[in-house]
Symmetry: C2
Subunit: 176 residues, 2 copies
Amino acid sequence: MASQQKTSRKAAGTAAAIRRPRARAANGGAQGGDAGDDIGLDALAGHAGYAVRRFQLWIFQDFIKTLAAADIRPTQYSVMTVIGANPGLSQMAVAKRLGIERARLVHLLDSLEERDFVSRIPSATDRRTHALHLTARGKTALAQFKRLAAEHERHVAEKIGKENREQLLQILACFT
Amino acid sequence: MASQQKTSRKAAGTAAAIRRPRARAANGGAQGGDAGDDIGLDALAGHAGYAVRRFQLWIFQDFIKTLAAADIRPTQYSVMTVIGANPGLSQMAVAKRLGIERARLVHLLDSLEERDFVSRIPSATDRRTHALHLTARGKTALAQFKRLAAEHERHVAEKIGKENREQLLQILACFT
DNA sequence: TATTGTTATACTCTATAACTATA
DNA sequence: TATAGTTATAGAGTATAACAATA
């Protein structure tokens, strides 16, 4: 399939190689090879999804950077937070609550269990399920993660403004 | 590595199998095997990143569903929109403007070129670069995509409220 | 028969590094 | 030497399907 794509691209490139007077000049001619910041995006400016995507990229990057010393990523943090607030949940319950595939949660819990942050305790009432708990070490670790996460939230407030951050949380409350 | 993980998980499970009185009872006991909606998440409620992530998932799902008939995904749409608004841009310029890896843009453009929406035109001034343009077919298609995208935006407004959507766009304007 | 946890597969996206051809 | 486009690879993340144990 890759070679097919390659072939068709090369072919298209060759065909298009019949040079034209360049409509590009209509743009001022400064944008062809330049990665300047003056590229018009008005067409995307009105799209909520684009702004939200860029914001989410920024926010996750800052979260990862701020919690890099603890080596915890956003999803791991959310899993530990939910288990810490609701000890004894099953894997299905956590997966559904966070919108994670249960197949993926298996691997997330594997790594958290390897680091001795979480433990799967067989349920006495339903032997298919595990009751999820934070270990003593996990509880201590989560407390530190939360301090770092609070620092990350301050970065967000600095970036978009304290009031704007609170408004945003209100607007999106229906998604938490 | 997989078998290592499996081994350590099984071992941890066995060791933890020494049953405890279940701290879970402190939560009301209804949450263990249940995926109910009453799982406490207060701990995550104050985190902008979590709300934004969930919102972005919803918004992308709706975008993909609304534009499914056109078979266009959000990133493809943003690429065509930028090229349409700024004909003649180089691949680097588009990649930087949209925050996409230039390596990934290659494949995105491959598929758009295969569908005859975009063409790479060799630059006369810098033979390393391609000037990107929409084909006639691409322009017609983009016009239809924009109508569908506008319908998607109406879905967003229905979901979070018309005024909230506009406020959100204002708050996140610095990320577009 | 349905559900939980698990394994496996595939596809998308992200992040790199290297290669080529140009500059 | 630096840059643009390309190729390749590895790692997350997502979406499925299937399986064993259990309900």
